[in-house]
């Protein structure tokens, strides 16, 4: 009997008899000869629970995680504290183990969570209509393009700021080939998108413009000016936003943005090496019937009691098939639950306090780091919780040295922004104290000095030694 099943030999015999066949093999006779696998799968034998735990634990040990080092890496996912109640609530079987609420009479819990989540996202973004989640951030950006092409009756050009997350731009590019659309990129000036340059690209063929605020280099964009530039020609303005920034920054709905999307991980979700998290998607009233994904709505039951159901289902693939507004089915309901519990835990005041703390720590970290000789800001635009600097030494070497001191200093920009090959993106959360910031600054300074060799012999790290030994061998 394999793990997690109950059929004993006696069960099997009785069930086969009831079916009227003599063996399990008989049940697979409908698979034609030659297509039945005539050997065992070449996979390791099953493990006992304790062996399996030990094996997975040994893999986990080979990862430098955010409890083992002070993590200043951001780039779209952030090391925020996840409160204990998030785990307690999301691990409840009633939330963990059902599926999509197709039978609303026995899914009121999940549907109410969706309704509360939609309200929270609507409040954060300042837009009236929010769905119950998409997969994650970058694919939500691409999904907004699909809405925009539909809303503009088939315009096929998408104009995207270089400040939008590189993963979002790449995902948009991938999806655009399916949409038959072309993506055009607009550069940054002084750390933010230049509205006047944007205007040059926006015409009657453009379905939407895409901006991100704060942008990938940390700069806070003037969403109002950029949206206005788009809308003059009838294009939609799509903004990707860091949900934590909406604690203190002006919401996209106030700035004339048509669709706001974003990565939900910072809201009570684990880092999880990149997923699962959730994407959020909010829009203006007029785009309600073009929205992708599940949306819960309030209604009443046969006795007049308040209840919740999946609303506007005629948009969706299971009803509308090839005419659906999106192909999504399974989304990220459990992660969205974590999001709404987290926002509730922070509450109205706590959310603002968090935003203020991050802005102040970021200002402090900016000053501490730029006090190091040769470290300079990449731009002077206002920032919220993340900022970009250039280092006077090779970034990868500096990161390796700093990691020896138990610090993940940030995200290197070279691969995705070759124009900033010395660039480093540094992010703050409430978990990175002033003491951590001071440690980071000191470690960076030492690593840069070691790298530049300016103050005597370079301090070779273990990893450089190992690499040298390997090269000899």
């Amino acid at each position: 009997m394999s793990r997690y099943t109950s059929a004993t030999d006696a069960d099997r015999a009785a069930m086969l008899e009831a079916i009227g066949v003599s063996s399990i093999d008989d049940l697979f006779q409908t698979i034609p000869d030659g297509l039945r696998l005539d050997r065992d799968l070449e996979l390791p034998d099953g493990l006992s629970e304790s062996e399996c735990f030990d094996h997975l634990a040994s893999l986990a040990e080979r990862n430098a995680h955010a409890d083992a080092e002070a993590c200043f890496i951001g780039a779209g996912m952030y090391d925020h504290y996840v409160p204990a109640i998030v785990d307690a609530i999301t691990q409840r079987s009633e939330f963990l183990t059902p599926y999509t609420p197709y039978q609303p009479e026995v899914s009121q819990g999940g549907l109410q969570v969706m309704f509360e989540f939609q309200t929270a996202i609507s409040e954060l973004t300042g837009l009236p209509v929010a769905n119950a989640s998409l997969y994650e951030g970058p694919s939500s950006v691409a999904s907004a393009a699909y809405l925009a092409i539909g809303a503009t009756k088939g315009r096929r050009r998408l104009v995207v700021s270089r400040g939008v997350h590189p993963h979002s731009r790449e995902t948009l590019e991938t999806y655009a080939r399916g949409f038959g659309a072309k993506v055009v990129e607009v550069g940054l000036r002084d750390g933010v998108t230049d509205p006047s340059e944007f205007e040059n690209y926006v015409d009657q063929d453009v379905a939407a413009i895409f901006i991100q605020s704060p942008n990938f280099l940390g700069g806070i964009e003037d969403m109002e000016a950029l949206s206005a530039a788009a809308q003059e020609s009838g294009a939609l303005a799509v903004a990707s936003v860091d949900p934590i920034s909406l604690s203190v920054l002006r919401p996209p709905g106030d700035c004339g943005v048509d669709v706001a999307v974003g990565e939900g991980q910072p809201l009570g979700n684990r880092l999880d090496y990149g997923g699962p998290s959730f994407g959020f998607f909010a829009a203006t009233e007029e785009n309600m019937r073009r929205m992708p994904g599940r949306i819960a709505g309030e209604t009443t039951d046969a006795d007049g009691r308040r209840g919740f159901v999946l609303a506007l289902q005629t948009r969706e693939q299971h009803i509308r098939r090839e005419k659906a507004t999106h192909n999504i089915c399974t989304a990220q309901a459990l992660n969205a639950l974590a999001g709404v519990v987290y926002l509730t835990w922070l509450g109205k005041q706590g959310f603002v306090e968090l935003g203020e703390l991050l802005a102040r720590r970021t200002a402090y970290a900016k000053e501490r780091l730029t006090a190091i000789e040769g470290v300079e800001l990449l731009h002077e635009a206002p920032v919220f919780r993340e900022f970009a600097v250039s280092l006077p030494a090779p970034v990868e070497d500096v990161l390796d040295r700093v990691s020896e001191e138990g610090i993940a200093a940030g995200y290197p920009l070279a691969r995705e922004y070759p124009e900033h090959k010395d660039g480093l993106l540094v992010a703050l959360t409430e978990r990175r104290s002033r003491e951590d910031i001071d440690r980071l600054a000191d470690a960076l300074e030492r690593a840069i000095q070691a790298g530049s060799g300016e103050f005597g012999q370079p301090v070779w790290t273990k990893s450089t030694e190992a690499a040298g030994a390997e090269a000899k061998a």
Partner: protein
């Protein structure tokens, strides 16, 4: 069983308790000014005014209206509303095509280890070797299970895998200078298939189903041609039957230069017994939240890795995981590789739903190859046993099986006779099942079957629970013979009774107003 179940709506005597009433208030309605749960770390840096740091035209003028509640109230609220959900851990959930199998708690435990849960996705690969090793191992296992050598774990769900599959198909044909506008899908396909076809810029062409429940090969023969890019298929299909003509189907599709796509929603029928790659499929997606035990979470998260044949491999999404053998007996090392000029590119951020990979990898290692095969065998045994029970008595008369063949892990009944003869629809039978403590099967799908009920018990259910489900169907149909109104007004025992779905779409109230 029936004697104790209400067969009428509650009367005034059944007034809800304070706790039940309380559950239908939202967290916003519980908000009281000045209450809070979180305490944040103190401000340990200079306490500058926000206006000094950020220009005021970029700042929010009013705080977001979030609830103001204490921690005990948050816990009570969500625990109470959770009880208004039916869940797999409480009872049978034979929802067809969804594979509601047990979610091992070991998998939750290993996914929560700090080395997994607290690993930043942009951590240098040098310092994330365990994560990349795990992903590599999962890729190899999925390659072996599907019979297709090259794997990308990136897609976030089945629908995302489908979109990847068609974008791969587009890239493959573009490379050959071919433009093919059409994609074929059977009339039994999941709704995601045609929705994906449109999203990927193709036109849907439906292929008929033959009288045995498989692809109508004659219809297919007429529709294949050099304007066809792909055929998307589920096998066993949504009727639960294995397509006997799959070899011929594959040869027709390949003959015209199209790709053959496998929707892996039904992989739980055949693990270790048959492989999509051996059937001739070029691209497969695997729903890790179905066959590989990731909890469904009330509608996600899941993951939809894809496995492909050699001719599709160059176009796989990037980055990809690469493994280098260690020299002189050193352990192998892993890296992310970005340099794939023919790749379709990214489908999402970072490396995919890693937390899902951890759970599914733990599941595969717990069961091993034999265990996976055994899981599929029991899933098929359970479906066949349940169908054998349902062929007898009233279900056999009123809810006959739609295609009378040996099914695999699921089967489809038709409620057409029940509607005709008893005046109860499939919806009514489903709602009455709720009173009996079962989640109903998938209903009104596939569209091909009138009044369809699609039943997938999975290997999780015991023989006793299958017997109880069969007994419940028998008993419900007896009620319908006696008084159809019992079904027409069901359910009676659930937190709410039938809901007005039409009103929710006509005048949508999709967020809390005025709190």
């Amino acid at each position: 069983m029936t004697e104790t179940l209400p067969t009428r709506p509650p009367t005034n005597a059944d007034t809800p308790t304070a706790q039940q009433r309380d559950a239908v208030t939202t967290i916003y309605e519980k908000s009281v000014e000045g209450r809070r749960a979180a305490t944040l770390p103190p401000t340990d840096v200079p306490e500058r005014s926000l206006d000094d740091l950020i220009p005021s035209n970029l700042l929010r003028s009013q705080p977001a209206q979030l609830p103001e509640v204490s921690e005990p109230e948050i816990v009570r609220h969500y625990n109470r509303i959770s009880r208004r959900n039916f869940d797999l851990d409480t009872g049978p959930y034979p929802l067809g095509s969804c594979t509601m199998k047990h979610n091992p708690r070991l998998n939750e435990r290993v996914a929560a280890l700090p080395g997994h849960a607290r690993l930043h996705p942009a951590q240098s690969p040098k310092r994330a070797q365990g994560a990349l090793d795990l992903m590599w191992r999962l890729e190899r296992a999925l390659a072996e299970i599907t019979g297709l050598e090259h794997v990308s774990l990136q897609p976030s769900a089945g629908s995302h895998g489908e979109l990847s599959g068609l974008l791969l198909t587009r890239a493959y044909h573009a490379d050959r200078g071919e433009e093919r506008p059409k994609v074929l899908t059977p009339d039994t396909s999941h709704g995601t298939n045609p929705a994906t076809v449109t999203m990927a810029g193709y036109e849907v062409v439906k292929v008929a189903t033959d009288e045995r429940g498989g692809v109508d090969v004659d219809d297919l023969r007429e529709k294949v041609g050099d304007d066809v890019a792909c055929l998307m298929l589920t096998n066993p299909n949504t009727l639960g039957v294995f397509d006997e003509n799959i070899a011929e189907v594959a040869s027709l599709v390949h003959g015209c230069g199209a790709t053959l796509y496998y929707d892996g929603a039904n992989l739980n029928a055949i693990m270790g017994r048959s492989r999509p790659g051996d059937m001739g499929f070029d691209i497969v997606h695997v729903n890790l939240h179905k066959s590989f035990s990731q909890p469904h979470g009330g509608g996600g998260p899941g993951a939809g890795p894809i496995a492909v044949s050699g001719r599709i491999e160059p176009y796989l999404p990037a980055p990809r995981i690469v493994r280098a053998e260690g020299s002189n007996g050193a352990a192998p090392s892993f890296d992310l590789s970005y340099d794939h000029p023919e790749s379709i590119g990214r489908l999402r951020g970072f490396q995919g739903n890693f937390g899902v990979f951890v759970r599914s990898y733990a599941y595969i290692r717990s069961l091993g190859g034999d265990g996976l095969r055994d899981a599929s065998e029991i899933a098929v045994l359970n479906a066949n046993y349940l169908l054998a029970r349902l062929r007898a008595g009233r279900p056999g008369k009123h809810l006959p099986v739609a295609f009378d063949r040996l099914p695999m892990h699921e089967f489809v009944l038709s409620g057409a006779p029940a509607r005709r003869e008893l005046g109860v629809k499939t919806l009514d039978v489903a709602k009455r099942l709720l009173d009996y403590g079962f989640h109903p099967p998938t209903i009104y799908f596939p569209l091909l079957v009138d009044e369809a009920l699609m039943v997938e018990p999975t290997e999780t259910e015991t023989r006793e629970s299958l017997d109880q489900l069969a007994d419940a169907f028998e008993s419900i149909l007896a009620e319908a013979e006696e008084d159809p109104r019992i079904l027409l007004e069901a359910p009676y025992t659930t937190p709410v009774r039938r809901l007005d779905e039409a009103a929710a779409s006509r005048r949508p109230v999709i967020r809390q107003a005025n709190f």
